[in-house]
Amino acid sequence: MDNFSQLWPLLYRALLETALMVSISIFFAVLIGLPLGILLYITQHPLLFKIKPLNATLGWLVNIIRSFPFIILIVAIMPFATWLVNASHGPVFASVALSIAAVPLFARLVESSFNSVKDGVIEASIAGGAPIYLIVTDVLLPEAKKSITQAITLTIISIIAFSATAGVVGGGGVGDLAIRYGYYRYDTLTMIVTVIVLVIIVQIVQWAGDFISNRAEER
């Protein structure tokens, strides 16, 4: 490609694909990862809901998924993803693998966000006779709001990075564009433009995330 007018339609399409993949994956990452992170935290806390075997099992599962190289994860879950979305390529198909990778990452980040909540506050809540669900909704989540917002930011950025690899299953997206045109076809213009676009996206996500998390703290 030698000029922008040729590149633009491709880039536009890639942006939409990236947006779609990120939206689906972060949605599931939060939907499943948040309760999973909560469960990871409360099942190891002596004052909350300590169940060692459950905590060990969940931790083990999370670690296994997290230790898969993403490309291998995509291939490994291909049959499952095909069955689930009734397709074998495209951004929605790629989102299955992205979600599966993002859930344990986000769960761990949520778990460690809770570590910043002072034990004393939890203790005071227990002493006040509060049930565990109330401690989760009214103590853990509000107290960790800032770092959970940061965890969402970090997860979105990780999903964007993973999504470049999702090209192997036709996921598309900006990262895939950079690899296919820029890297394999030595198309310098595409390479430079897509990388710049990626840098800008990541910056915007980070800024937005910081802005929201600072507001969460100030109230």
Binding site: A127, G129, D138, P142, K145
Partner: protein
């Protein structure tokens, strides 16, 4: 409501090492009293109060509050029972991301307090602790004293019959400490709530405690009416605590000999110290010079100490000592100085 600990002990297991934080202890705290526990760091005070609401599970023994044996309750019943045992902490332990109002609302939610009565209840509590104008302020933005007031309001929200205080004033300056102690005292009087307060500060005990226990190395080594314990301390550690408030030391330049002695006496009531001294000056052929003197009020009862140096004939000094020992309400103390 009374609290009864029966042979309660607590041993922590740390990497194959056992720490006996509380040796088997029996203790009864009577309904409506303010019971103080004093001891140095690591004595086991926090362990003991945290055993009362079972924040720590006892290794042995039973904990009875009122008619309920807490150690036998199911975890759900224990949770409900805890709503009637308030607790306040050294570090206040408020939900910092929430407002004063929401902090109190939290424990009312926990007890499923009738929703439409919640605002009125919170206002009542804020009035009680003197924070009516702070309702919508974030807990993070309060001063230490104000945070502890919110802590107290939160602890009282569900009308407990017991209030446990773990070093509730240790993070506060002396003036704020006084005002918090006064608040606790008035809560005890007006609401009849039994209070257990633990501290390493004598000031707190003498201000507020009806009875005191002195803790050391996981044991209550001395216990009794606060005034009696402080006027007649038996154990070394208790004597150290008394020393701490009177802050008496024999000046180092004084060389004690049989003809030149330092005597410390204590006045057990409002016995006018002036008159007594004048009498000593008049009746004994000794040179008497005062080194130190101080009256402290223990639960509003005065306990005075006077330290003086006497020099003269050995027999005359002996006669003076006998005279003191026969005086009503006045005692020589050996351990001070």
């Amino acid at each position: 409501m009374s609290i009864q600990l029966n042979n309660v002990s607590k041993t922590y297991h740390l990497k194959g090492r056992n720490v006996e934080a509380l040796k088997p202890t029996s203790l009864k705290v009577e309904t409506g009293e303010i019971f103080g526990l004093i001891g140095y760091s690591g004595a086991g005070k926090s362990t003991l109060v945290r055993l009362i609401n079972l924040l720590e599970k006892p290794s042995t023994g039973t904990v009875t509050v009122g008619d309920d044996n807490l150690t036998e309750l199911s975890s759900k019943d224990l949770r409900i029972r805890r709503q009637k045992i308030g607790m306040i902490f050294q570090q206040f332990n408020l939900i910092e991301s929430k407002t004063v109002y929401e902090n109190i609302e939290f424990v009312l939610k926990a007890s499923k307090y009738n929703k439409k009565d919640v605002p009125a209840r919170i206002e009542e509590l804020l009035n009680l602790v003197g924070l009516n104008d702070k309702s919508s302020i974030n807990a993070a933005n309060l001063s230490g004293g104000q945070k502890q007031r919110v802590g107290i309001a939160r602890a009282l929200a569900n009308n407990p019959d017991i209030l446990l205080c773990d070093e509730a004033t240790s993070a506060l300056d002396p003036d704020t400490t006084k005002s918090i102690l006064n608040l606790l005292k008035s809560i005890n009087r007006t609401l009849g709530i039994t209070i257990v307060i633990i501290t390493h500060e004598m000031e707190v005990i003498k201000e507020i405690a009806d009875r005191v226990g002195v803790m050391s190395a996981g044991e209550i080594i001395e216990i009794g009416d606060t005034y009696n314990v402080f006027s007649h301390p038996k154990e070394e550690i208790t004597k150290d605590f008394v020393q701490e408030i009177y802050n008496f030391e024999v000046p180092s330049q004084i060389k004690e000999t049989p003809e030149n002695q330092v005597i410390t006496i204590q006045f057990l009531s409002e016995n006018a110290e002036e008159n007594y001294l004048n009498q000593l000056y008049r009746d004994f052929e000794l040179s008497i010079s005062i080194l130190n003197g101080r009256i402290e009020y223990i639960k509003e009862k005065p306990l005075g100490f006077l330290m003086f140096q006497v020099s003269g004939k050995v027999e005359e000094i002996e006669r003076l000592k006998t005279h003191i020992d026969n005086s009503h309400g006045i005692e020589r103390v050996g351990y001070i100085g």
